[in-house]
C-alpha cells in the first residue's frame, strides 16, 4: 500500500504545482486528504505488518500517523480558505499546496520506515518541502529564515549521516542487515561501545534540528516565525515528531546496551539547556509566533526529561508528545486568524481580542490553560507523570530548577496572552478590522477538546498503543 500512496501523493503534489484553477486545487487537496485517511486506516488495520522490507507499522508509527492525519485536516483547510484570501496568487498557491502535500507524505513515510537510512532520506525530503513553505511570502525575512533553515538542516543531516557511518563501524563487517531497527535491536548487546557512543552523539545532535533542542534549535524558530501559520502549525507539531521518531528508534537500541546511563546524561544536559534557553527567550520575546515556538522547545525538553527519567516517564513522554502536537498546532492556527485581525505579530500592538472575535478570544484563554499544563489539560497528566518519574528516578536536583523555570514560563505566557485578550492596544485603528467568521475557530476547539479528552479519559486502545510503543525499554 505504501508505494501507491507515495506515487499518488507525488502525482497530486505535481498536479497542484502546475494547476492554476482554484476549484481544481481544492478538489486535489480533498482527494489527498481522503487518500491520507484511507492510507492511515489501512495501516491501522494492518498493524505489525512489514511492507517492502523497509516500512513497518509498529505502535509508535500508528500513533504518530494518526496524529499527523488529524492535524493535516485543519492545516490544509485553513491554508487558503481562511487565511490567504487577500493575496491569492495561483503560482504561489500551487507551490504552497504542493509543498504541503509533499511534507505530509514524507512525514508519513518517515514515521513508518523501519530502516535507519530510509528514515534519513525522508527527513531530508521534509527539509526540502518545509523550506518551500517558509519561502512562501518571498520577502527579505522569509528568505533569511529559509536560508538559515536549509543550511542548519543540511549540516544536521550530515551529522546524522556521520552517525550512521559510525554505527556501521560499530556493527563491524558483514552486518549490512543491522541497519534495520529490529535487527539492530537484536545485535545491540554486541556492538562496539566506543563507536556506538560516537554514533549516538552525532545522530542525536543531528536530529535536534528537527526535534527543537539545544544545540540546533535555532533554525526551527525562524522557520516557525516566517512560515504561513498553517505550515507553522505542522512545523511545531508533526515535524518535531519526525525528529523524535528518528531519535527515539535509535535511543531504544542504545537503551539496550551498557551505554544507556551515559546516553541519558547526554540527553539530560541537552534537555535542561533547552528548557533554560526557552525560558530566557520567552521572558523577552515580543513576537507571539516566536514565543510559541520557544514554548515548543520547552515541551520537547520536558519530553526528553521523561525519557531520561525512565519508568513511567517513557509512557508520559510519548503521551506528552502527542498531546503537545494537538495543543500547539491549534494555537498556531488561531494565531493565523489573530494576524488577520491585527496585521501584526508584535504583542504590543495586539490587544482587546474579545472585542473583535469572541470565540477566538475564549479559545486563546482555554489554550493558555491547556498549553501551560494546568488541569483539566491532558498535558497536566503527562507532565505530572514526567515529574513523578523524575522524582522516583532520583533526579530531584534537576526537577527543582526545571519547576522554577516552568513557573517563569507560565508567568510570561500568561502575561502576554492575557494582554492580547483583554488590554486595548496602543494606536490601533479599529475601523479597518474585517468581520470574522466564528466557524473558523471550530477546528481549534476540536483539537483542544482532544487534548483534554485524551488526557483525562484515554481510550483503552490509545493506552495500549502507548504501552506497546515503549515496551522494549529497560528501566
Amino acid at each position: 500500500m505504501i508505494i501507491p500512496y507515495l506515487t499518488g501523493s507525488i502525482l497530486i503534489a505535481g498536479a497542484l504545482f502546475f494547476n492554476q484553477k482554484k476549484l481544481v486545487s481544492k478538489l486535489l487537496v480533498v482527494t489527498f486528504l481522503i487518500m491520507q485517511w484511507g492510507f492511515t486506516v489501512f495501516e491501522i488495520m494492518h498493524k505489525g505488518a512489514t511492507t517492502y522490507d523497509y516500512f513497518s507499522t509498529d505502535a509508535l508509527a500508528v500513533l504518530l500517523l494518526v496524529t499527523l492525519s488529524i492535524i493535516s485536516i485543519p492545516a490544509l483547510t485553513h491554508s487558503y480558505e481562511y487565511i490567504y484570501k487577500e493575496k491569492d496568487n495561483p503560482r504561489a498557491r500551487g507551490i504552497y499546496y504542493g509543498a504541503l502535500v509533499l511534507l505530509i507524505m514524507s512525514l508519513t513515510a518517515a514515521y513508518l520506515s523501519s530502516h535507519i537510512a530510509v528514515t534519513w532520506i525522508f527527513v531530508e525530503i521534509t527539509t526540502l518541502s518545509a523550506s518551500a513553505l517558509i519561502f512562501h511570502r518571498r520577502n527579505a525575512g522569509s528568505i533569511e529564515a529559509t536560508w538559515k533553515y536549509v543550511f542548519v538542516s543540511s549540516i544536521s543531516l550530515v551529522f546524522v549521516f556521520i552517525g550512521i557511518l559510525f554505527l556501521s563501524i560499530a556493527l563491524g563487517k558483514g552486518h549490512e542487515e543491522g541497519m534495520f531497527y529490529e535487527e539492530l535491536m537484536v545485535l545491540s548487546p554486541g556492538l562496539n561501545t566506543f563507536w556506538l557512543k560516537m554514533a549516538f552523539i552525532f545522530i542525536f545532535s543531528g536530529y535536534t534540528a528537527k526535534l527543537g533542542l539545544v544545540p540546533m534549535y535555532t533554525a526551527g524558530i525562524d522557520a516557525k516565525d516566517k512560515a504561513p501559520t498553517p505550515a507553522a502549525a505542522l512545523f511545531s507539531s508533526v515535524l518535531m515528531n519526525v525528529g523524535f521518531v528518528g531519535f527515539f528508534r535509535f535511543y531504544k537500541v542504545v537503551a539496550n546496551t551498557s551505554i544507556h546511563p551515559w546516553a541519558n546524561h547526554v540527553v539530560m544536559i541537552a534537555a535542561f539547556l533547552s528548557i533554560f534557553v526557552a525560558t530566557v527567550y520567552m521572558l523577552k520575546v515580543k513576537n507571539i509566533k516566536r514565543m510559541l515556538a520557544y514554548s515548543s522547545i520547552e515541551h520537547m525538553g520536558l519530553i526528553m526529561l521523561g525519557l531520561v527519567a525512565g519508568g513511567i516517564g517513557y509512557y508520559a513522554a510519548l503521551l506528552h508528545l502527542i498531546l503537545h502536537s494537538f495543543a500547539k498546532s491549534a494555537l498556531f492556527l488561531q494565531i493565523g486568524h489573530l494576524y488577520k485581525t491585527f496585521k501584526t505579530k508584535n504583542i504590543y500592538s495586539i490587544g482587546n481580542y474579545f472585542k473583535f472575535n469572541v470565540p477566538g478570544a475564549v479559545f486563546l484563554l482555554l489554550a493558555f490553560i491547556v498549553v501551560t499544563a494546568m488541569p483539566p489539560s491532558g498535558l497536566f497528566i503527562s507532565e505530572f507523570y514526567i515529574f513523578k518519574a523524575m522524582f522516583e528516578g532520583g533526579y530531584l536536583f534537576l526537577l527543582i530548577p526545571v519547576l522554577i523555570l516552568l513557573t517563569m514560563i507560565i508567568w510570561s505566557l500568561g502575561k502576554n496572552i492575557l494582554k492580547m485578550v483583554f488590554i486595548p492596544p496602543v494606536g490601533f485603528d479599529e475601523s479597518k478590522v474585517e468581520p470574522v467568521n466564528s466557524l473558523e475557530t471550530f477546528s481549534q476547539y476540536l483539537l483542544l477538546g482532544l487534548v483534554i479528552y485524551l488526557g483525562i479519559n484515554p481510550p483503552q486502545v490509545f493506552v495500549d498503543l502507548l504501552h506497546e510503543a515503549v515496551q522494549n525499554l529497560t528501566f
Binding site: 519561502f135 536560508w147 549540516i155 549521516f161 550512521i164 563487517k173 558483514g174 541497519m179 566506543f194
Partner: protein, 209 residues
C-alpha cells in the same frame, strides 16, 4: 596510491586556508572531486559494476564538474566580489587548520581500533572540522556553500572507508550530494542573490530576539 591521494586532499585543506580568491576555492573543489574519483576507483573495485559506475560518475560529474561550474556561474551572475574576505588573517587560519589536522591525527592514534582505516579517518575528520571552521570564519553566503561541499567531501571519504561492506551508505552520501547541488545551490543561491546585493551573510541577520 590511495594514501598519496588522501594526503593531497588534506594538503588541499591547508591551501584552502590561505587562498584569497573565490575562484581558487572553486578550483580546490574541482581538485577534491578528482581526488575522490581516484580514491573511489581504487578502493571500490570489489563492488558490483553498476554501482561502481554510478559512484564514479557521481564523483567525476557532480563533484568535479557540475558543482564547481555552477559556483562559477553564480559568482559571475551575481557579481560577487572575487575576494574571499575572511574575518581572520590567513596566517591564523593556516595555523588553526594545521592544529585541527594534528588533533585528528592524535585522536585516531588514541582510538587505535582495528576496524578503523586511520588515514581515511584523519582526512575525513580534518575536512569536517576545517569545513566548520571555514564556515564560521568566512563572510559570504557562497563561501558557506563551498565550505559545506568541503564538509561533504570529507563525509564521502568516511563513507568510502566503510564502503566495501556497505555500499548502501556510499549511495546515501551520493544522494546527499545531489540533494545539495540541486537544491541548495540550484534553487536557493539564485534567490538569495536577487535580494542581497553582495551575497553577504551580514544582510541575513535581521531575524533575532
Amino acid at each position: 596510491m590511495t594514501n598519496i591521494l588522501l594526503i593531497v586532499f588534506t594538503i588541499s585543506l591547508l591551501y584552502f586556508a590561505i587562498a584569497n580568491r573565490l575562484m581558487t576555492y572553486v578550483k580546490i573543489l574541482t581538485l577534491q572531486g578528482v581526488i575522490l574519483f581516484g580514491v573511489a576507483f581504487i578502493e571500490l573495485r570489489e563492488l558490483n559494476l553498476l554501482n561502481l559506475i554510478f559512484i564514479l560518475l557521481e564523483t567525476i560529474i557532480v563533484k568535479a564538474l557540475a558543482i564547481p561550474m555552477f559556483m562559477r556561474y553564480v559568482i559571475k551572475k551575481n557579481n560577487i566580489t572575487r575576494e574571499a574576505e575572511p574575518f581572520v588573517p590567513n596566517f591564523v587560519s593556516l595555523i588553526l587548520v594545521t592544529i585541527i589536522i594534528i588533533v585528528t591525527f592524535i585522536i585516531s592514534n588514541v582510538i587505535n581500533d582495528p576496524h578503523l582505516h586511520k588515514i581515511y579517518f584523519v582526512t575525513a575528520l580534518s575536512a569536517l572540522f576545517s569545513g566548520l571552521y571555514f564556515i564560521s570564519s568566512r563572510k559570504k553566503i557562497i563561501t558557506h556553500v563551498i565550505c559545506y561541499v568541503v564538509i561533504e567531501n570529507g563525509v564521502f571519504i568516511l563513507s568510502l572507508a566503510v564502503g566495501n561492506e556497505m555500499p548502501l551508505l556510499i549511495n546515501l552520501g551520493v544522494l546527499l550530494d545531489v540533494f545539495v547541488s540541486v537544491f541548495l545551490l540550484g534553487i536557493f543561491i539564485n534567490k538569495v542573490g536577487d535580494v542581497t546585493s553582495d551575497g553577504d551573510v551580514a544582510e541575513l541577520s535581521k531575524l533575532k530576539d
